[in-house]
């Protein structure tokens, strides 16, 4: 890749981090909890976004960031009090800045007036100092030096071209203390034309009185030729303010005055910079200490981090997985071989296994990140939705530090966004409705995360009107999702909203009605190996509870044997396993049977037939039946020959090496080195059951299936 293109990618990555840091700081300011360092961090974030944007020529981004930065600078310096009103503007400005970054990234420019309103509000806050000019002028008063007037001449002006320049140059001690060197300036001038140098030694004291840190030498430099004034100024650019400097043009016809030292001998003169560099620049120190650059703030113990390519971590995860497998194989071989001293070797292997488990956990932990990176995107969304819907919304975030696998984090944003849209658009009432219902006008949406039982639980709740069960049920009947006679519990009705094809069309609005229903949200969650349930109380609000695995790299599975094959069933999908009695198996159609479990009927499926495996037990009552539950399509009883055991397996994706296979989620390598396929329960159930739910099976057990 073109190196600049690579840096541009870095820039956009960095922008994402900076925007999050900015938002975090602004939210702290909104809550009145921001200290000066937090405000500084916001300033720096905007400043850095501007800086990089300038390098890539994102002009509208830079222009907006500059205005934003000016206001933040006022807040930082205490000129502007960050009251609620100001912070509100800053938050909106942060959103617009994010839009600018997104626009720069996608190459789709924002509309001309996209940032106009906020920019105007910022201009008001900046007090008309948008250019920064007034501020600069004011600040000069604090400095004890005189800014030099620089005359800008373009060389094509009316004045006749000078025959050269005479420069009177007397460095101050500070010039040397700052590591500038007159010799280098003279060399630079020599590049512009012939230079004559006359040293002024008149200020040089006797050796006894000389302070090595002071400056005593001065020079008169005459530059011959047609060098423009600008070039001369540039040569002295860095030392302006650290020297006395007079520059005058030589008249075209004036002869130059004789000089005592030609330029060539200049380098043989004592070089004061060396003296200063080695001595103590006492004067300069005193001067500068008075003005006082701010001392470094005490440095808190900072957590050290490094940035690592995700591929490297994944390779590590994979290798550790292989290591675990190899250890298991080794252990098995040792026991099978019954070599002498197998017990001692065995205990060593057990220890190795423990260490490997720890290693595996530690490696997995590298892939985890706090959910904060997803949660942080939500305040903006809520603000935007509040404006669009004219509702008042307070977003409460909890457990942002909860860590979960990066892949889970990356894929959590979309479903959460959609759920929050739903909660605000459909869940919360308007301020008027809320007042009438005796609730505070401001609705609350709460998003929390916590670890529970080896999984992460994310909860989204609102205190809105709750699910309108009557309407949901009507819709479901209307769309043929449930029979009109179905007697459903409240919970079952609430969960109807997750069915594919269910959308309460009359509620579709321009906010949440974007063609994405809760069925898609659920599919997203299920693809991550998670579950979603809803609990709703009429007039009091709704609660969505998501449970997700902490990692997608390993899986707790049940290893089962079917014929000559071994399969793994994800534990999360297994309801129970049982050995059915003959009388519980009811033939249902030519190809299928139903299994009677307690009071319900579940389709019984021959796994060997389903997957084309040979040599399996054909009589289910002589094998084992595993009852699995899918997220979307209900339960299924799968026949297997035997349960081999429950274990954690490392997931080896198919897609990377082969292709997606329906009904198979991935593969893994077992302890004995054999490859086993991990079954995709949802895919299998969907394939076998179409969209019927368990109630229909119960009701239609004597009818036709399917």
């Amino acid at each position: 890749m073109d190196p600049m293109e690579a840096i541009k990618q870095t820039y956009f990555q960095e922008c994402e981090e900076l925007l999050l840091a900015m938002e975090e700081g602004l939210i702290a300011m909104e809550g009145g909890e921001a200290d000066s360092e937090a405000i500084n961090a916001v300033f720096r974030a905007v400043h850095s976004i501007k800086g990089g944007g300038g390098a890539f020529g994102f002009e509208s981004l830079v222009s907006f960031a500059h205005q934003f930065e000016t206001v933040l600078d006022h807040v930082r310096s205490g000129k502007l009090d960050p009251d609620a009103q100001v912070v509100k503007v800053l938050l909106r400005a942060g959103d617009i800045l994010a839009d600018h970054v997104a626009a720069a990234r996608s190459g789709q420019p924002l509309g001309e007036d996209h940032d106009r309103d906020v920019k105007e509000e910022l201009a008001v806050l900046a007090d008309g100092e948008a250019t920064g000019g007034a501020e600069v002028a004011a600040d000069f008063d604090d400095l004890d030096f005189t800014p030099m007037q620089i005359q800008i001449e373009d060389g094509e002006g009316a004045a006749p071209a000078a025959a050269g320049w005479r420069i009177r140059f007397a460095p101050h001690a500070s010039l040397y203390a700052n590591a500038n060197d007159p010799l280098l300036i003279v060399r630079e001038l020599k590049g512009l034309g012939n230079v004559e140098v006359e040293a002024d030694l008149s200020k040089l004291p006797s050796l006894a009185e000389m302070d090595p840190a002071n400056a005593y030498l001065a020079w008169t430099l005459t530059v011959h030729g047609d060098a423009p004034r600008g070039a001369i100024d540039e040569a002295f650019d860095f030392v302006t303010g650290d020297c006395d400097l007079e520059i005058e043009a030589l008249a075209a016809d004036s002869s130059t005055e004789p000089v005592s030292a030609p330029a060539g001998e200049f380098s043989e003169m004592p070089a004061p910079s060396v003296l200063v560099a080695e001595g103590r620049a006492a004067e300069a120190v005193r001067n500068d200490e008075k003005k006082g650059a701010p001392a470094a703030e005490p440095v808190a113990a900072v957590k050290q981090t490094i940035r690592v390519d995700l591929d490297k971590v994944d390779r590590l995860v994979n290798l550790v997985g292989e290591l675990v497998i190899t250890q298991a194989m080794l252990a098995q071989r040792v026991f099978e071989a019954e070599v002498q001293g197998a017990a001692a070797v065995g205990s060593g292997l057990v220890e190795l296994e423990h260490l490997l488990r720890d290693l595996q956990e530690s490696v997995m932990a590298i892939r985890t990140q706090p959910v904060k990176s997803v949660f942080q995107r939500m305040p903006r969304l809520v603000r935007e939705l509040a404006v669009q819907t004219s509702k008042q919304v307070r977003l409460v975030l909890e457990g942002e530090a909860t860590e979960v696998d990066k892949t889970v984090i990356d894929r959590l944003g979309e479903p959460l966004t959609h759920m929050i849209r739903n909660a605000i658009d459909h869940g919360l009432e308007t301020p008027d409705e809320r007042r009438e219902a005796g609730k505070p006008e401001e609705g609350t949406v709460r998003l929390s995360a916590e670890h529970r039982g080896g999984r992460i639980v994310i909860e989204l709740s609102d205190d809105g009107r709750g699910i309108n069960r009557e309407r949901v049920k009507e819709k479901a009947i209307e769309k043929g999702l449930i029979p009109a006679t179905a007697a459903l519990s409240d919970e079952e009705i609430d969960n109807l909203i997750f069915l594919p094809g269910f959308s309460t069309a009359s509620e579709v609005s321009n906010i949440s009605g974007r063609g994405v229903g809760m069925d898609v949200v659920r599919r997203n969650i299920v693809e991550l190996g998670g579950r979603i349930v809803i609990a709703s109380t009429p007039k009091r609000g709704s609660r969505f509870i998501l449970t997700l695995p902490l990692t997608l790299a390993v899986l707790d599975g049940m290893v089962v044997g079917v014929g000559d094959q071994t399969f793994v069933l994800p534990l999360t999908h297994i309801v129970e396993s049982l050995q059915p009695r003959k009388e519980d198996i009811r033939p249902f159609s030519r190809e299928r049977s139903l299994l009677h479990i307690r009071d319900s009927y579940v389709p019984l499926v021959r796994t060997d037939e389903l997957l084309g495996v040979k040599g399996a037990q054909t009589d289910p009552s002589k094998g084992v039946v595993i009852l699995v539950e899918s997220e979307g399509a209900g339960r299924l009883a799968l026949t297997v020959d035997a349960i081999i055991g429950q274990r954690q397996v490392v997931i080896k994706s198919f897609e990377g090496n082969y292709q997606r296979i329906e009904g198979i989620a991935a593969a893994t390598i077992l302890g004995d080195g054999r490859v086993a396929l991990i079954l995709d329960v949802d895919g299998l159930v969907t394939r076998c059951r179409t969209n019927l739910n368990s109630d229909q099976i119960d009701q239609q057990a004597t009818g036709t299936f399917g």
């Binding site: 600049m4 590591a179 500038n180 650059a293 440095v299």
Partner: protein
Amino acid sequence: MGKLVLTVDDSRTMRDMLRLALTDAGHTVIQADDGQHGVEVLNANPGIEVIVTDINMPRMDGYAFIDHVRRDLQDHSTPILVLTTESEATKKQRAREAGATGWIVKPFDPQKLVAAINRVAP
């Protein structure tokens, strides 16, 4: 001749751009993430010949960093260039008072950056 240049900037983008421009010109670059880190890098690398530093940084800003080099380390010979934007005349002056040798205007033109380095450390 190539120099050993220490760049001090909290922005990864800016660090990468500096590295690209400087290495293209034959210099060798050591990077630091902020002033505090810069001090550590400087202490560990006595051979650093030129320093290029940003001003706005967490932990220790550019002014404090330069001040530390000049005052605490008593280093008055290593040129220090600050990165600043055009409008920040006051910053240039403040940086100079802290002990900066010169400045580079952001967004910088790689050629100008290299020219500025040449000017203070030929």
